[in-house]
C-alpha cells in the first residue's frame, strides 16, 4: 500500500511538470493558430468579402487551436452590439472549453482584442492592414512562446521528473 501511494505521489509530481510544459506548448500552438487564422481571414475579406459571421464559420472548420474561438465568435456575433464585445465573449467561452486557448497570456489576448476593435469597421484594404499589424505584433509573442516552450517546457518536464524521483527516494 505504501509503495502504491509513493508511486501515485511521484506520478502526480511528474504530471504537474508535464502539465506546466504543455501550457507553454499550448500557448505556442494557440498563437500559431491565430496567425494562420488571421491570414486566412484576410483572404476571406479581400477575395470573398465574406461577412464576419460566415468567415468565422469557415475558420471554425480549420483543424487548429483557434477553431473553438471562431466557433464561439460565430455564435456571439448576432446578439452583440459590436465586434469587440462579441470577440471578448467568444474568447471567454472558448478559453473555458480549450486548454490550449486558456494558456494564452493577457498580452496575447490584448493584441487580439485590439485587432478586434477595428474588425469589420472599415473597407477591405484597411482590414488587411489591421490583420498585417496584428500578425506583426503576434510574431514576437510567438517567438517568445516558442523559446519558453523549448527552455521552460524542458525545465518544467525535468523538474517534474526530478521531483517525482526525489519524492520517491525521500519517502521510500
Amino acid at each position: 500500500m505504501r509503495y502504491i501511494l509513493l508511486c501515485a505521489a511521484s506520478i502526480a509530481v511528474a504530471l504537474v511538470g508535464f502539465y506546466r510544459a504543455s501550457l507553454f506548448a499550448g500557448r505556442m500552438a494557440a498563437i500559431e493558430a491565430f496567425i494562420a487564422s488571421l491570414s486566412q481571414l484576410s483572404l476571406l475579406i479581400s477575395y470573398e468579402a465574406l461577412p464576419l459571421r460566415e468567415a468565422a464559420e469557415r475558420l471554425a472548420k480549420a483543424d487548429n487551436a483557434a477553431a473553438p474561438f471562431w466557433a464561439a465568435l460565430r455564435e456571439a456575433l448576432p446578439g452583440a452590439p459590436d465586434t469587440r464585445t462579441a470577440w471578448d465573449a467568444a474568447m471567454r467561452a472558448a478559453k473555458a472549453k480549450s486548454a490550449r486557448l486558456s494558456s494564452l497570456l493577457p498580452q496575447d489576448e490584448a493584441v487580439l482584442s485590439e485587432f478586434a476593435s477595428g474588425l469589420g469597421k472599415s473597407d477591405a484594404k484597411t482590414q488587411q492592414a489591421g490583420v498585417a499589424l496584428a500578425t506583426e505584433r503576434l510574431r514576437p509573442l510567438l517567438a517568445r512562446a516558442r523559446e519558453q516552450s523549448e527552455s521552460r517546457g524542458k525545465v518544467a518536464r525535468s523538474l517534474g521528473v526530478l521531483g517525482a524521483l526525489a519524492i520517491f527516494i525521500l519517502l521510500m
Binding site: I45, A49, L50, P51, L52, R53, A55, L77, A80, P81, D82, T83, A86, L119, G120, K121, S122, D123, A124, K125, T126, Q127
Partner: protein, 326 residues
C-alpha cells in the same frame, strides 16, 4: 395589393435598430405602421417617420409635430445601426457604401450620411455615419395593370420612360412592369434584364432579388447603369432592359444601342411632367429622338403611384389621362 404583410417591416427591420427605437417603432399606431415609408435617424436629433407625412416619433411610439418631446437618437444608436446593418462587416458592403446606401434582406434600403474618406478624388468609404434614412420596401403587385395595355403597339413592346418626382412610385411601377412582362404579356414571355444600380428595383441582397421580379428576369445588381446595360446586351440577349433613374449621356448612348439591337428599354427618370423632362438636357434628347414609344407620368396627387397620364413618345401627346392612384 402588397405581396407581403404591410407590417412585415417590423419583423424584418426592428432587429437592426437599437432597443429604444425598436420599442417605439413597435408601439407605433397600426395605421401609421402600415403606411410607413421611411424612418429617419439622425444622431442627437429627433427620430422622424414618414407615414406618409413626416412626423416625429416619441419613445412611446406616438407621432407628434413637437420635436422637443420626440425620441432623440444618440451617437451609440447610430453605431448600433451601422454594426447591425453591416453585420459587423463594413468591408463586405464596400461597393454599396461608396454609393451611400446599404441594401438589407427583405429589400429594404438604408441611405446614410457621414464623413467620406476619399482616395484620388473618389469616395473610398465613410466614417462618422450619423444619419440614416431607412426606406421601407413595399411591392405593389398589379400597380402597373393600368399602364400595361398602353405599352404595346401591334403586339410589340415599346420602350417606356416613367417620369415622376421622388417618392411617387417610379421604381415600384417599373418593378411591376418587369414582373408582368416576365410572367408573360401579349401572349409572349419576355426575357427581362434589370440593371439595378442602386439595388432598388429587385432589392437584391447578396445577389438574390428580395422583390418579385418574375421568373424570366435576370438582375445585374449594384452594377453601374451604362456598363450594366452593355453587359446585358452583350451577354444576356434580353427582350427588355429595365433600369432606374437615367439621366447621363452614357445612359442615352446605351439606350440608343439597345434600340439598335431591337431591345425595349423600360426606364425611369426624375421629372414631374413631360414638360419638365424636356427641360433636362439628356431626357429632352431621348424624348425628341423618339427613343421611347411611351412616357408614363406619376405623382402623389392621390397617394404614391397616382397615374397622371400615359403619353405617346413621338407626339408627346397624352393617350391616357388619369389622375387616380394606380
Amino acid at each position: 395589393m402588397d405581396s407581403k404583410d404591410r407590417s412585415a417591416w417590423k419583423r424584418e427591420l426592428l432587429p437592426v435598430l437599437p432597443g429604444g427605437l425598436a420599442l417605439a417603432l413597435g408601439d407605433m399606431p397600426e395605421r401609421a405602421a402600415e403606411s410607413l415609408e421611411e424612418i429617419r435617424v439622425r444622431a442627437l436629433r429627433p427620430v422622424m417617420v414618414m407615414a406618409p407625412e413626416g412626423k416625429y416619433l416619441t419613445s412611446r411610439g406616438e407621432l407628434t409635430d413637437d420635436a422637443n418631446i420626440a425620441l432623440h437618437a444618440s451617437m451609440a444608436d447610430c453605431g448600433f445601426i451601422l454594426e447591425r446593418i453591416s453585420q459587423h462587416s463594413l468591408y463586405a458592403i464596400e461597393q454599396e457604401m461608396r454609393s451611400g446606401y446599404i441594401s438589407l434582406l427583405g429589400g429594404y434600403r438604408v441611405g446614410f450620411c457621414g464623413k467620406p474618406v476619399t482616395e484620388e478624388g473618389r469616395v473610398r468609404h465613410f466614417t462618422n455615419m450619423t444619419s440614416f434614412c431607412i426606406r421601407i420596401a413595399r411591392e405593389h403587385k398589379g400597380c402597373a395593370d393600368k399602364v400595361m395595355p398602353w405599352l404595346f403597339r401591334a403586339g410589340e413592346l415599346m420602350s417606356t420612360l416613367v417620369l415622376s418626382p421622388p417618392r411617387c412610385g417610379k421604381t415600384t411601377i417599373i418593378r411591376d412592369i418587369a414582373r408582368q412582362l416576365s410572367l408573360g404579356a401579349h401572349g409572349r414571355l419576355w426575357q427581362v434584364v434589370i440593371v439595378d444600380e442602386r439595388s432598388e428595383i429587385a432589392g437584391s441582397c447578396r445577389g438574390v432579388p428580395q422583390n418579385d421580379v418574375g421568373p424570366m428576369t435576370d438582375v445585374l445588381d449594384a452594377c453601374p447603369k451604362a456598363e450594366g446595360m452593355r453587359i446585358a446586351l452583350r451577354a444576356m440577349s434580353p427582350g427588355v432592359l429595365v433600369t432606374d433613374e437615367i439621366g447621363s449621356q452614357e445612359d442615352r448612348r446605351c439606350i440608343i444601342d439597345a434600340a439598335g439591337a431591337g431591345v425595349a428599354v423600360i426606364a425611369s427618370a426624375h421629372a414631374a411632367s413631360v414638360e419638365e423632362a424636356l427641360k433636362r438636357p439628356v431626357l429632352s434628347e431621348l424624348l425628341t429622338e423618339g427613343l421611347f414609344g411611351r412616357v408614363v407620368v406619376l405623382s402623389r396627387a392621390r397617394g404614391a403611384g397616382t397615374l397622371e397620364g400615359v403619353y405617346d413618345g413621338e407626339t408627346l401627346r397624352p393617350v391616357l389621362v388619369e389622375g387616380c392612384a394606380s
